[in-house]
């Protein structure tokens, strides 16, 4: 079994208490260690007060059904699904609903922007945004989707600020989700042994390690040997 996969299956399993996990860095066959790692997926480190706040926010409703449906349509236009899913699989609409309650400063731009969008769609196409054909939706978005990076966002027109906010929340919601992290290809957040940048990456970016520097660094095959120094601070083990 691929050792990397075995780590993942153990870490993602719902377990509390000591567990022995073997980790190794891809490409360094000899450096193998055991660590006692535990993780309990029933908790995510909230204090009782923080849990209470989350429950309170969950009990509130900010976006109505129509607004939530419009946000869903918008988020899919912003980030169309691929084989790793899209905003719906990533829980983006629920995330936006939660964040609007968690950071109330977002509310007016969000709600006002949605009203603006429906007004514009009604004026131009005679229907509200979510029911307009995709071609017309895009035609409308093309007028508000781009911004001038030289001007501070809060000095740009409301509709541009609004779309920027929806785009940001959609992307952040997606890339912090399980499907989004998979799509991104982020490899960390699991026990491993860092033993330097892979050679092909060094080559790709035109970088190299200096022997003199590497000589100072940890020899990962000795990480489990208890440190002993001489009187001058030279490491002996």
């Amino acid at each position: 079994m691929d050792r990397r996969k075995s780590i993942k299956s153990i870490i993602l399993g719902s377990v509390a208490g000591g567990l022995v996990v073997h980790g190794c860095t891809p490409g360094t066959e000899s450096s193998e260690v055991a660590e006692s790692i535990s993780k309990d997926e029933n908790y995510f480190g909230r204090t009782p007060e923080e849990l209470e706040l989350i429950e309170e926010l969950n009990a509130e409703e900010f976006l109505n059904e129509h607004e939530l449906a419009t946000i869903t349509v918008l988020s899919i236009l912003i980030l169309p699904p691929n084989e790793n899913g899209g905003p719906v699989e990533a829980g983006v609409p629920e995330f936006i609903e939660f964040m609007a309650k968690d950071i109330p400063e977002l509310q007016t731009t969000l709600r006002g922007g949605l009203m603006w969008l429906d007004h514009k769609s009604n004026t131009e196409f005679g229907t509200e945004f979510k029911s307009t054909p995709e071609e017309q939706q895009k035609q409308l978005l093309d007028t508000i989707a781009f911004y001038d990076a030289e001007i501070p966002m809060d000095e740009q027109p409301l509709e541009i600020q609004f779309f920027n906010l929806i785009r940001n929340l959609t992307l952040s919601g997606y890339y912090t989700s399980k499907v989004g992290i998979k799509d991104l290809g982020y490899k960390g957040n699991m026990p491993n042994i860092w033993d330097g940048v892979p050679d092909d990456v060094l080559k790709q970016h035109g970088m190299a390690y200096e022997e003199e520097w590497l000589a100072k660094c940890i020899d990962q095959s000795k990480r489990a040997d208890i440190a002993v120094w001489d009187d001058k601070g030279n490491l002996l083990t």
């Binding site: 891809p26 660590e35 790692i37 535990s38 993780k39 309990d40 908790y43 995510f44 480190g45 909230r46 204090t47 923080e50 706040l53 989350i54 912003i78 980030l79 169309p80 691929n82 995330f95 964040m99 968690d102 950071i103 989707a145 781009f146 911004y147 990076a149 785009r167 940001n168 992307l171 952040s172 919601g173 890339y175 912090t176 992290i181 991104l184 490899k187 960390g188 957040n189 699991m190 491993n192 860092w194 940048v197 892979p198 990456v201 060094l202 790709q204 035109g206 970088m207 520097w213 100072k216 660094c217 940890i218 020899d219 990480r223 489990a224 208890i226 440190a227 601070g233 030279n234 083990t237």
Partner: protein, 572 residues
Amino acid sequence: MQIKESTIEYDAIIVGSGAGGGMSAKVLADSGLKIAVVEAGPYFDPKDPKQMTQLKWPYESPRRGAGTTRAFGEFDMAYGGWQIEGEPYTHKDNTKFDWFRSHMLGGRTNHWGRISLRFGPYDFKHKDVDGLGDNWPIGYEDVKPYYDKVDKLIGVFGTNEGLPNDPDGFFLPPPKPRLHELFYIKGARKLDIPVIPSRMSMLTKKINEDRGVCFYCGQCSRACQVYADFSSGSCLIFPAQKSGGQVDLYVNSVVREVTTNEDGKATGVSYINKEDRKEYKLRAKVVVLAASACSSARILMNSKSKQHPNGLGNSSNMVGKYLHDSTGSSRAGFIPGLMNRKMYNEDGVGGMHVYTPWWLDNKKLDFPRGYHIEVWGGMGMPNYGFGMNPNEFNKFFGLPTGGYGAGLRDDVKKYYGSVLGFGGRGESIAREDNYCEIDPTTVDEFGIPVLRFHYKWSDFERNQARHMQATFEELIHSMGGEPLGDTPTKEQDYGLLNPGQIIHEVGTTRMGDDPKKSVVNKYQQLHDVNNVFITDAGPFVSQADKNCTWTILALSWRASDYIVEQLKQQNI
């Protein structure tokens, strides 16, 4: 209602459980003394699955890691922040000071950056070099044996470089640089700016059987469940309990004042139990304050009695004075050479693998003292904020910014890991007119008068920040990059952060030989009352451009050895 008084008399009460309090607890308990540790926040153990945030994914929380309830993101391991409900602080004359508090066992050591730098020989005697501030009454040679012991007890990686003011030590080997750090090394060398392996207290190698070895998740700010980084609970307090020490922990207990007798000597402390909101008293032969520089000063100033009308240890009127924080200024750059990354796990240790110690001669500069450069970057775990402004850097290529559709996925991947950032952390000059005092108009929810701050930066610090910004821009250009944002202007203090922001509060109970100009002697014992000691950063006379924790630990050990000796000799 009457205050409930304990019948036990401890050898020592330690107020606060962070670096200073933890070390005092360890040294005193290991000497066989019976001690009480009083902590304002709850019990915390990094390996408790209910409290743990290490290895959590952003999607385990509905806010995906946003910093709504915790200033540095919701997985950061500090209970508290810049503001704590019911526990305000105020400011005088529209000055600014941002005060970060973490109320939990281990205090701020649970989330700190673990940058573990010794002060050097000049740092203790800097007045001799430039005539500014004051010298410490002790020198590097007094502290060196304790730095050595701290290195071995707690563990710190780094390298012996033989630098004159960044002393060698007993280091574990550092981890190899990451890709962005290789870019930094190369870019800095072109400018003759030195770069060396960083010095941080994570275990890259085993140091004993009680603590694990780093497994490179990069999440030291979340506190490590295998105790591979330094936190006061896991490295000092738990071992003190485990080795048979007589340690009583009082958590959720907010100390109001040090109590004294007719002779003016300390008899213990009074505290408010947060759970029943009642006041209690504990008795001891010695009181050790380690509640943080500002909190300990507050306790002293609130400990008024007939014998100590100006507050305890404050006959000099120096308590609260000379408050100083590190200077700080930050900048980030976009580095095209770091675009289009291949994916691999480069979490590494939490924070930087390399850094730049202060390297210049002040004679050629318009500010005294120096700063070191911290570096960040890499393909970190996505959290709230990730993916926002996904193609902002298109502006550097004359391409449109914004848009929608499948192309945004390519933008996110293309730019992932292409930002590198710098933090300059420097030394400010301690000044008597930067201080905290008791605000007579305000109490916290426990009825305890709160602190009022008065703090102004001078041109020394502003010029230092200007130099940082100029250096960062040169470095970014040297790496082939573009600085992000505009160069901070004079009106913006050149990007100098508010005092307090670097969370290195020191100096409020400073050390000295002259009882008229200082609060504690060179053993961190109050000049006015011989059975009260301070082992947080309050006694610092100056703080170098080095982060303060390693020196807090060394000095706390030194002061605690002195307490043991003085108790044995029945001097206190």
